[in-house]
């Protein structure tokens, strides 16, 4: 048995003459999908596997397929003769361009065997001279194939071909088997004393954690600081005992080269290490040198969810191996430019990072560690008098200790990296998208995303404020009762059937849906949302409510919610509510749409009635037309009353009221939105402020018919007095197949929606289709909750935005607007 081991992610190049048994070998050892054969590609582009004229295009195709597979991280085997140097070079280059290793397996069979095998195959009509030529190429190749650039060349002859077994080598960077918990520790730079303090703070006792935590060092253990050897001693000890991992920093690389006697420029604190090593014995220097030399570029940990690299690593490089991956991991994404202090300008790769894995790194000293798109830099410049910082994983908790003194003067002043203007990428929102939510995946269609992009870009408030958009809400199944399209009975029945025991009926305010995002102070707004100001109020499509009055209104709201900020002890709040009166925002709409209809009706109908009465007076039979027209006249008057009820005088911000009914999110770790409605309503009821309108509500035990009847009477009373209706919600979240709320609108209010005379044609209108609206309501609700939980978890802007944008995209789906 001959064991051949290849890297688990690699390009395996088979080498051998036609008839050497490559395809048989490949079929025996690899999955059919892993093997890309030149014959097969030739067949694809020519309908004939032996059409040699198609060879160049067949190889184009082969390279394309191999490239796609490698990009996607799949082991790939190339089944082609590859007896020529040029053919192998192009495959090696392809592997390199995808940062994967490349092995060759040579099947070296005697010429006569190959000729004999080909003779058996009727489709291979080329002569023995072809084999002979390939054989010559191979013989020439074999003497120098080891210099081709393969990681390893496995040559198999005779029985070895038959007896070979393939083994897979895990990549050095692959420690996905380790699940932690970890303590990732930033750049130490010889600050031995601070390191000991930090380790103690983290709970390590002489390098061992009682709860089996593992320390992970991001590199740059050495240089600049007072005692690099002591730091190395500590870290080496921990690594050897298996209580720590360490990736290489650029300073380790340079120190090794200096210790190896290579000519390097002694600067940036290397001089300190060299002085300190001069005092150490040779055995220690040997050990440290071997240790540092053996450090690898990065680790993938915890099933790939955590990546640690000294200078960070973009997603395409995770788990890959190449010179440029190592260079990225050690030095970052440098552009080759230098800044005014002579230090390299680094490309802000983290801004563009969209990977799922958390990337923890160091290298660039900043005043404090900040999250950028699921990445964090832990170099807080301890050696420059800053702090030594660690990140507890998976807790995402920052632990840091201050420097005991400034050990080394920085070349450029330490700055906060400053919050980058949280830039969103077009790739975050466009195309057909599948958005993961805690209750399943929601598909967003490209055409809806297209429409939403325009609305979002042109009209919406700043995406940093736009942390939520309210979902649409479905009405109940259509009522068969006389004079009703909607009635509480159907809402109660639906929830009861879904197993809900208790619901709350909330008064539905007739205003404009409004989401308020508020911060206790501008500083806290900046810290949480990365934007200046005290908050914002926006509509259900994300538009700002007011022009110039917006700020004034936000300040007033912020003040009104003082008690809530105090009770919840939160620096920020997101609230769902209704802005009253309706005319404040919808004034133009009311005038151009509703009042116009009312004006036309009130001018035309009395004249029509009078004309009909005159005709009737002449003895003409206009009875039924007259009746109808009189009814229409009365209906039009009711219609006018229905909209006029929701119009009120507003000047400046006086006259405005905000009626909150849900606390969407606050800084409490979990998402407030999923709490039960009594929690929301109790907290909100406690706010006594003239700007805040209360939301009247009543609870219903669905098993109790009396309570149902009482709630129905309550609804009848509300709507008879001009109320829009009510929203029925399960008091506690009821699962992802149950509507989060059902609106039951009053018969008079529905005149605004279905027209003044709608009660005349109820039977027609009862044929309404709720399916799409209900499905939308559920999907939008999941996305809304998802956006809020991403916000609460401190996820990056683009993650929150993805979910919010998706709500807007779904709202672009055509659906009966009367529902």
């Amino acid at each position: 048995m001959t064991e051949i081991s290849v890297p688990a992610l690699s390009l395996v190049v088979l080498v051998g003459v036609s008839g050497s048994g490559k395809s048989t070998f490949a079929a025996k050892h690899f999955k059919p999908t892993q093997v890309v054969s030149s014959d097969y590609c030739r067949g694809l582009v020519a309908d004939d596997e032996n059409d040699q004229s198609a060879t160049p295009e067949a190889f184009d195709l082969l390279h394309h397929i191999v490239g796609v597979r490698l990009r996607r991280g799949l082991l790939t085997v190339v089944d082609a003769t590859n007896v020529q140097w040029k053919a192998r070079q192009s495959l090696i280059a392809l592997a390199k361009s995808h940062d994967v290793l490349c092995d060759a397996i040579v099947l070296d069979v005697p010429e006569e065997v190959a000729v004999a095998r080909n003779a058996f195959r009727p489709d291979r009509d080329f002569g023995a001279h072809v084999i002979r030529r390939q054989r010559n190429d191979l013989r020439q190749s074999l003497s120098k194939i080891s210099r081709d650039g393969f990681r390893r060349v496995h040559v198999l002859r005779g029985d070895d071909i038959e007896n070979a077994v393939i083994g897979y080598e895990r990549a050095w960077t692959d420690r996905t088997d380790l699940t932690g918990p970890f303590d990732v520790i930033g750049d130490v730079h010889g600050c031995a004393s601070e390191l000991e303090t930090l380790l103690a703070r983290l709970g390590y006792d002489d390098g061992v954690h009682p709860e089996n935590r593992t320390a992970v060092f991001v590199g740059d253990l050495v240089d600049r600081g007072p005692d690099s050897p002591a730091v190395l001693r500590r870290v080496m000890g921990m690594v050897e005992r298996g209580t720590a991992l360490c990736v290489s920093g650029n300073h380790e690389q340079k120190l090794v080269r200096a210790l190896n006697g290579r000519k390097v420029r002694v600067a940036h604190g290397l001089e300190k290490s060299l002085e300190q090593f001069a005092l150490e014995d040779e055995a220690f220097t040997q050990r440290a040198r071997a240790f540092m030399d053996g450090l690898i570029s990065h680790y993938r940990l915890d099933g790939g969810r955590l990546v640690v690299a000294h200078a960070g690593l973009k997603e395409a490089y995770h788990g890959r191996a190449s010179g440029r991956v190592r260079s990225f991991a050690l030095y970052g994404d440098t552009t080759g430019e230098t800044d005014e202090y002579g230090l390299p300008v680094r490309y802000p790769w983290a801004e563009q990072y969209r990977g799922k894995a958390m990337v923890v790194y160091g290298h660039t000293p900043t005043t404090h560690a900040e999250w950028v798109n699921n990445t964090i830099c832990l170099d807080t410049g301890v050696v420059f008098g800053g702090r030594l910082t660690a990140l507890r994983y998976p807790e995402k908790e920052i632990v840091s200790v201050p420097a005991e003194r400034v050990w080394y003067e920085p070349a450029r002043p330490l700055t906060s990296r400053g919050r980058e203007p949280d830039v969103l990428d077009i790739g975050d929102v466009t195309g057909d998208r599948y958005v993961e939510t805690s209750t399943g995946t929601v598909k967003i269609r490209e055409e809806n995303a297209t429409a939403a992009l325009e609305i979002m870009s042109r009209f919406a408030v700043d995406p940093r404020w736009l942390v939520y958009l309210p979902p649409t809400m479905a009405p109940p199944e259509t009522s068969r009762r006389d004079g009703h399209l909607e009635h509480p009975d159907e809402a109660f029945a639906e929830f009861a059937a879904a197993g809900v025991k208790r619901v709350v009926c909330e008064e539905k305010h007739m205003g404009s849906r409004a989401v308020a995002v508020l911060a206790r102070t501008p500083e806290e707004a900046l810290a949480k949302f990365g934007i200046e100001g005290l908050g914002t109020v926006f509509t259900r499509t994300g538009r700002p409510f007011f022009g110039e009055r917006q700020e004034e209104f936000v300040h007033a709201l912020r003040e009104a919610f003082d008690p809530l900020f105090a009770t919840l002890d939160t620096p920020w709040l997101v609230l769902d509510g209704e802005l009253l009166p309706w005319s404040a925002k919808a004034g133009d709409l009311i005038r151009s749409q509703y009042a116009s209809v009312g004006a036309a009706a009130s001018a035309a109908l009395p004249v029509a009635v009078a004309a009909l009465e005159a005709a009737a007076g002449r003895g003409l039979d206009v009875g039924s037309i007259l009746d109808r027209t009189r009814r229409r006249h009365a209906n039009a008057a009711r219609f006018r009353e229905a909209y006029a009820r929701y119009c009120g005088p507003v000047s400046g911000i006086s006259g405005l009221r905000f009626a909150p009914f849900q606390i969407l999110a606050c800084a409490e770790g979990a998402t407030a939105v999923t709490r039960s409605h009594d929690w929301h309503l109790d907290h909100l009821a406690a706010i006594g402020h003239p700007l805040i309108a209360a939301t009247r509500h009543t609870y219903v035990d669905l098993d109790d018919d009396d309570q149902r009847a009482a709630a129905t009477r309550w609804w009848t009373g509300l709507t008879a007095a001009g109320g829009e209706g009510m929203v029925v919600k399960p008091v506690a979240p009821a699962g992802n197949r149950v509507q989060p709320g059902i609106k039951v609108r009053g018969p008079e209010y529905l005149r605004i929606i279905y027209g003044p005379d709608y009660l005349e044609s109820l039977d027609d209108l009862r044929r309404r289709f709720l399916g799409r609206k209900r499905s939308l309501a559920l999907r939008e609700h999941s996305l809304g909750v998802e956006a809020l939980s991403r916000l609460a978890a401190g996820e990056p802007l683009h993650r929150v935005h993805e979910a919010v944008f998706s709500v807007l995209a779904l709202e672009c789906e055509p659906v009966d607007p009367r529902l």
Binding site: E337, Q352, E420, P421, D422, V423, L424, D425, I426, G427, V429, T450, L453, E454, M456, S457, V461, D462, I531, L589, R591, Q593, S596, V597, G598, A599, A600, A601, S602, A603, A604, L605, P606, V607, A608, A610, A611, L612, A614, A615, R618, L620, D621, V622, I625, R628, T629, A636, R640, A644, C647, I753, Y754, G755, P756, S761, D764, P814, P817, R818
Partner: protein, 461 residues
């Protein structure tokens, strides 16, 4: 929904003959969207009144509308059609009184040819342009017009007037003429039609307008509105009316609304095109390309590759149509690319151009979004040159009648100093040099109407 026609010419009941509807009966005519009734509230020798009452079935009307009903889609269900004298009423009138409208009356042929005293009332006539327009349109034919505006809602006097008037027309007219006046002018005043305007609409207009329309001083407005502003049809109508009225076609051309001066957008386009040429940019990305006017100019200028980006997919469709992309020769076609994108989202497709143009774009962004745009354009796409044009707010007082900003969607308009401060800041942050140029007439006091900044990336030391 209601139209009454009265006459006092004795015997007034002869109106029944003219209308071909008996004063003693109540007649019903089914319509696509409801039922039309004709009855006579009064019928004496002294005075006879015919009423046309159209009952609109709103539900049926809504069902027949396609998904394309724009803006406020609830308007499909809640609208004034059941009450107002719209095109629904005018077409019902045209059909129900078809014979009368043609002027035929076998029973009273000479009466049909005679101008008789008529009074026509429409209690709720939608009138875009106000009572004044109603007078302007009916008076030339000799009508005595009363147009009473209807308030939007008496309970909210601050809302003012609605777009409806109660219209009363009095005059001596042939009945057929009167009906044709109504048939043409009701939808013109409403400025909306409930049906798709097809080619034969021109024929209808010509027929109904015979004898009065060609000479009407508001011919242009009437033709445009009647044909729902469909330009091609309007032109066809003008041409034919010219024959009918024996008039010179040229005088029928709509009066020039634009000033004779080169419009500012042309100046702007020329200035940008010239700057692109001067900079030697061979590849240009036009961020916020709109309907593609600059793209066309740059193609002519010989720029090798021009990419147009707009945030509106609809606008891009218009641009593709204007540029005739599908009919372009393949060599030219290869030089043009259009795609949807947003300047506040980084986009790999924005990279790799010699120059990016932001022509009248920045002022459409809320000021807090500017840093994101700067990041996207100057920080990520990093073209060698960036050309930005924006209005100069100082110039605004030079526009008569301009109050506020030049466009309702402008979020701000900068003075020259504000523009410079912004541009210098961006240049400093992203390593660009910047120079400024006037676009349009550079007024010594307030500067040019448009200002342009040309950014050039500093070459690396």
């Amino acid at each position: 929904m209601l139209l009454t026609i009265s006459t006092t010419r004795a015997p007034a009941t002869d109106l029944g003959f003219l209308l071909h509807k008996h004063p003693g009966r109540v007649q019903e005519f089914p319509r696509a969207f409801g039922v039309a009734h004709v009855f006579y509230p009064e019928a004496t020798d002294e005075r006879c009144t015919a009423a046309l009452l159209l009952e609109v079935d709103a539900v049926r009307l809504a069902r027949t509308r396609g998904k394309a009903t724009p803006e406020f889609s609830l308007g499909q269900y809640v609208n004034d059609r059941p009450y107002a004298a719209s095109s629904l009423l005018s077409t019902a009138m045209a059909d129900v009184f078809r014979t009368a409208r043609s002027g035929r009356c076998n029973a009273r042929p000479e009466l049909a040819e005679t101008a008789i005293p008529l009074e026509i009332t429409l209690p709720a006539l939608p009138c875009r342009g106000g009572p004044g327009l109603a007078r302007r349109l009916f008076e030339p034919m000799g009508w005595d017009v009363t147009a009473e505006p209807i308030p939007l809602d008496p309970a909210f006097p601050e809302w003012g007037e609605s777009r409806y008037v109660t219209l009363t027309l009095k005059g001596e007219q042939r009945l057929a003429d009167a009906l044709n006046h109504l048939y043409v002018l009701l939808p013109v005043l409403d400025d909306a039609k409930h049906y798709w305007i097809a080619e034969d609409e021109v024929d209808k207009l010509i027929r109904a307008g015979e004898g009065w329309l060609a000479a009407h001083p508001d011919l242009t407005l009437i033709t445009k509105r009647f044909l729902n502003r469909r330009t091609a049809l309007t032109r066809a109508a003008f041409a034919r009316l010219a024959e009918v009225g024996d008039d010179d076609e040229e005088t029928l051309e709509p009066p020039a609304e634009e000033e004779v001066r080169v419009p500012l957008n042309t100046l702007r386009r020329d200035a940008v095109t010239a700057a692109v040429g001067e900079l030697g940019a061979r590849t240009v990305i036009d961020l916020g390309c709109g309907s593609g006017q600059l793209i066309l100019a740059l193609l002519d200028e010989g720029v090798q590759k021009i990419t147009g980006v707009d945030v509106s997919a609809h606008t891009l469709m218009i641009a593709a149509r204007r540029l005739k992309l599908d009919r372009m020769g393949s060599r030219t076609r290869e030089r043009v690319e259009l795609f949807q994108g947003s300047v506040t989202y980084t986009d790999a497709r924005f990279a790799g151009y010699d120059a990016a143009v932001l022509m009248e774009v920045v002022e459409h962004l809320d000021p807090p979004r500017l840093p994101a745009m700067e990041r996207v354009v100057f920080g990520t796409a990093q073209p060698r040159h960036v050309l930005v044009t924006t209005p100069n707010a100082e110039y605004n007082p030079r526009y008569e009648n301009l109050t506020g900003l030049r466009h309702p969607d402008h979020r701000f308009e900068w003075t020259r100093a504000e523009f410079r401060a912004w541009a210098d800041g961006v240049a400093g942050r992203y390593g660009y040099d910047v120079e400024f140029r006037p676009v349009g007439d550079d007024d010594p006091e307030v500067g040019p109407p448009t200002q342009m900044a040309v950014f050039t990336k500093e070459t690396q030391a």
